[in-house]
Assembly symmetry: C2
Homo-oligomer: 597 residues x 2
């Protein structure tokens, strides 16, 4: 009996004892965000699957794991030999554990989960889906702690200051801004559960998790004080002195629920139900009226300030230099040095690390060759590593954390000669990318109104991609940040000047190849007419788009003009930081295409 089977048997024994019919294990922590520390990585420990998105349901007859399509190949490899079944929906379908429960759980059942790592929104979603069945919940069901004897401890990195030369606004100013908005909403208290909100508000960062400079903490903003729930030893003396001046009171992280439950002042508290755990939500004293909304820092930090925008421009040059060196390296060495997806992921990290103020990768690098590229967010891991050698398309999606901003960029390049279909697909994706990059739209527009722009050339040819076109991007924070997005989903957030968003249309040809072209675009105010204010996007990312993959005959004149202008900017901004042979190579890669062909 292997370890996984043993653990499963243990869990089932506890379920039996507690009369629980289905136990839900999410891959999340008490902050319900994307980046979680090892302490809360229950699913990898339990099942062997290491992907960044997963849910597990254990019943007396089933042990099922749900993840999304990017991880199917990896999950199948990693779950092999375990009792866990990968619960795979059909193509272009969404089918999550909630749907499965709605279909399979019988009336009168009891569902258990650990309410410390399960959001109030998730519970409501469950209640709605199972509405007509009589189901009871045990939301205080932690089976894991007792079993997991060698569990990693909670992270203990030390906070560091994110100086105002990077943040563009000091703590006191940000706090005043949040309090002003709280007043407008009528809230005396504002509970912050998303760690990046707290980092932004207090101009601090930490190293508690991979890919985003976060320091695990909760915060409660009041009219005069801020309670910061964090391990005392994680805050250095200099910061403590600063905090003291601003009325920031530190309290033990473990006592968050307890302290909230004993709040003496206040009557109206603002809470985001999607990022607040059941346990924390329930600890709010009954006498409080709760305003549920996206947090105020989430809205404020999505609009980048002038300093942030200036720093971002400098960061884009650094990132572009690293990427150019990377693709130059592949081009020069592909037939000499053995390359694999994993070795290339290491290479790009190394090249970024030579850049000043680089802090680390902003997410797990995707270097996906040929059919691996057809998995939208394929993860390059040893289990599925493959040699990048013979003819095919290589998709590279990577990003960096810098003091002055966060990057996220995807390029698809040909190894050897591309086929006509690859060129046609690539050019259709590029057309969509350019259409969105050139968009102009009135103030008041939502992302779902713009999503179509990037898809139109694909749709006209019966093609599509199964993910959104753009996500918000943090600033020296999470690479995926709300509230805005550009996608078919009915996200009510406006696209506003100062917002940083990805532009990443794609095509995935299952079993063959994937194509994605991604830049970060920044929204700015263009002109005001009698019909209102109009906004546009500025493309910030700097890296050539491979001309070898472009079928010029299907590009419109204004698309060619955009591309040539973009390429001239790339060359102009990057070449001062490159070696002579790299400059010559980039010059060729960024030649205007009408002259080039």
């Amino acid at each position: 009996m292997n370890a996984n089977v043993e653990k499963l048997a243990l869990i089932r024994a506890v379920l039996q004892q507690k009369s629980i019919d289905a136990y839900i294990i999410p891959l999340s922590d008490p902050h319900l965000g994307e980046y979680i520390p090892g302490h809360w990585k229950i699913i990898p420990w339990l099942t062997g699957f290491t992907g960044s998105a997963a849910s597990v349901i254990i019943t007396h007859t089933l042990a099922g794991l749900w993840t999304d399509s990017r991880y199917f190949v990896q999950a199948e490899a990693q779950l092999e030999g375990s009792e866990y079944i990968l619960m795979k929906p059909g193509s272009f379908q969404k089918y999550d554990y909630v749907d499965w429960l709605a279909e399979n759980i019988s009336s009168g059942s009891k569902i258990g989960f650990d309410g410390r790592i399960f959001s109030i929104s998730q519970v409501r979603k469950l209640e709605e889906a199972l509405g007509l069945k009589k189901i009871t919940f045990d939301d205080n069901c932690d089976i894991i702690t007792e079993m997991w004897t060698d569990r990693p401890p909670m992270p203990v990195s030390v906070a560091w200051d994110h100086p105002v030369e990077y943040s563009g606004s000091d703590r006191s100013k940000k706090i005043a801004e949040v309090r002003k908005k709280m007043k407008e909403k009528g809230a005396d208290l504002h509970l912050l559960t998303s760690i990046d909100d707290i980092m932004w508000l207090l101009n601090i960062r930490g190293n508690d998790v991979e890919f985003s400079p976060l320091l695990t903490s909760f915060a409660l903003v009041g009219e005069r004080q801020i309670l910061l729930f964090v391990d005392d030893k994680k805050i250095p003396q200099t910061l403590k002195a600063e905090f003291d001046k601003l009325g920031i009171v530190m309290l033990p992280y473990e006592e968050t629920c307890e302290m909230i439950s004993s709040l003496a002042d206040g009557s109206l508290i603002m809470v985001n139900p999607s990022t607040t755990s059941v346990a924390l939500y329930k600890s709010i004293p009954e006498r409080f009226e709760i305003i549920e909304d996206i947090s105020i820092p989430t809205r404020l930090k999505s609009i980048k300030n002038k300093t942030e925008i200036e720093n971002l421009s400098a960061v884009m040059v650094k990132d572009g230099v690293a990427l150019t060196k990377f693709f130059f390296y592949i081009d020069q060495n592909n037939d000499k040095v053995p390359m694999t997806e994993v070795s290339l992921a290491v290479k790009i990290l190394e090249l970024r690390s030579h850049q000043k103020d680089f802090l680390g990768a902003s997410f797990a690098t995707i270097t996906a060759f040929k059919e691996h590229g057809a998995l939208p967010h394929y993860s390059s891991v040893p289990e599925t590593d493959s040699i990048v050698g013979e003819r095919g398309l290589l998709l590279v999606d990577s990003g960096g954390q810098y003091m002055g901003g966060t990057t996220d960029i995807t390029r698809t390049v040909p190894i050897g000669l591309p086929t006509a279909r690859e060129k046609n697909d690539f050019t259709l994706v590029l057309k969509g990318h350019i259409k969105l990059a050139m968009a102009k739209f009135p103030y008041g527009t939502r992302g779902y109104q713009l999503d179509h722009l990037a898809r139109e050339p694909l749709w006209q040819n019966g093609l599509n991609y199964g993910h959104g076109t753009g996500h918000g991007v943090g600033y020296c924070l999470n690479v995926h940040e709300g509230p805005q997005s550009i996608s078919p989903a009915d996200n009510k957030s406006l696209i506003e000047p100062g917002m940083l968003i990805s532009n990443e249309p794609a095509i995935y040809r299952g079993g063959e190849y994937g194509i994605r072209t991604e830049n970060l675009i920044l929204c700015y105010e263009d002109e005001e007419t009698e019909f209102g204010k109009f906004l546009k996007f500025d493309t910030l990312s700097l890296c050539y788009i491979d001309n070898k993959l472009i079928d010029i005959s299907i590009l419109e004149k204004k698309e060619i003009e955009w591309l040539n202008k973009y390429h001239s900017g790339v060359f102009e901004k990057l070449s001062p930081h490159l070696e002579p042979d790299e400059i010559a190579w980039l010059k060729d890669k960024t030649e205007p295409i009408l002259n080039h062909y």
Copy 2:
């Protein structure tokens, strides 16, 4: 003291007596739809304003009337001399009476309205907007009935059969379909409050209101019976016999609430909160569980069947013939016969009435010359009538009710020579119109994803229009029909094969002119690829688009191709039904534009 002032004083006296601080009067009837009989036209009787959309609030210090921009000119004229103030928002803003109440009513106030003509959704909207203020509602406050001594009686038209050769599906089949969907939802009862739903379900029509062939009634669909709440004398014997066979039981219309409140069977009732009055909603016995959703007939009837689509094509020819004769008439007689907006509205109705199976106009014809065209839904009434003579743009938005379908079409034509800016604006609107007409999109797409297509050429030039791009259209029923729409609003309804929708981008140059080009488009399934099913639109409306207003230099090749193909279809389908001089004229109007210029 004029009559309006007297009525206002009377109402205020009752408010005083009932301790009501604000009295809301909607322009609606117990069915909460768009078309209401004279009996419920309280606002025109009270204020003199005859527009089709309005709300009135009466407090002790204010008598305010809200309507939308299409009626501003008319409302200002009609309210002159009354004590009612037109509550006008700024341009491109929405500002309704709910916003006004939220800003102006003080905590502790009491708001009154007649719950028989106020929907549950409206009450909830009020509650939400006024949430933090302590407000009480008197939802049983009918001040009008006693005052209005010469009130028009309820309409008493007689129902007529809409035969299966037009409806394409007989009553029993439709009823079975609705019951099947009810079963899927778990509902034993389904309350139908929208009259057009009932007309569709029972294949009947009536003449109770202007513009839509409706017969005032409620219906309650059960598993075996249907209760039809309608005046007994409105149903002819032949239909009664038919109904009897199908288990349709007639009950007095006035007793709807009472009968609902005494329901003996059932436990789960399906109700649409947007079209159900507070009074009716509250009459549902407490023991019922209520499923709130758009009604099943609303969803079913939005998908036109094969017979309906075939009939629609024939109707479009008739409608196009009438329109061609109309524009030919203007062109030939403009310098000979005096023409005004109102006389032209009469003319177009006359021409349509010569067509077989024509039942009447589907809405109040808009014939708007020059600056009147800048009011998106300007209403051509004697108060604001103007001569159509000297140079300018004429916007004509009109439609007909036919046994085989409902039409809605807008054309803008030049009187005299158009200016360069008029041509540029017209061509930008046309580009948007064509882009939407040529759209191809995957199954699962919502209207808000397509809206941008029609706006993109305008947005790129800093232009826009303040209304949606497309609304659903009924079949020998309401010209505005749900659930689908093509607009920036986050309407979750999918655009599905069989749906009939308007395509009407526009530009309004305040004080100068308006341009709108509207056709009805029908969604159909195009192809299925590895990326799913793809849908397209077929343009059904048939009327030339005036080449004199087109600036060919800003049209793309595929847009010119679309236009030439459309025009060749218009000529081919309409010319067999026209006189020789009309044919020659239409031939010229529909010449391919590359040859023409």
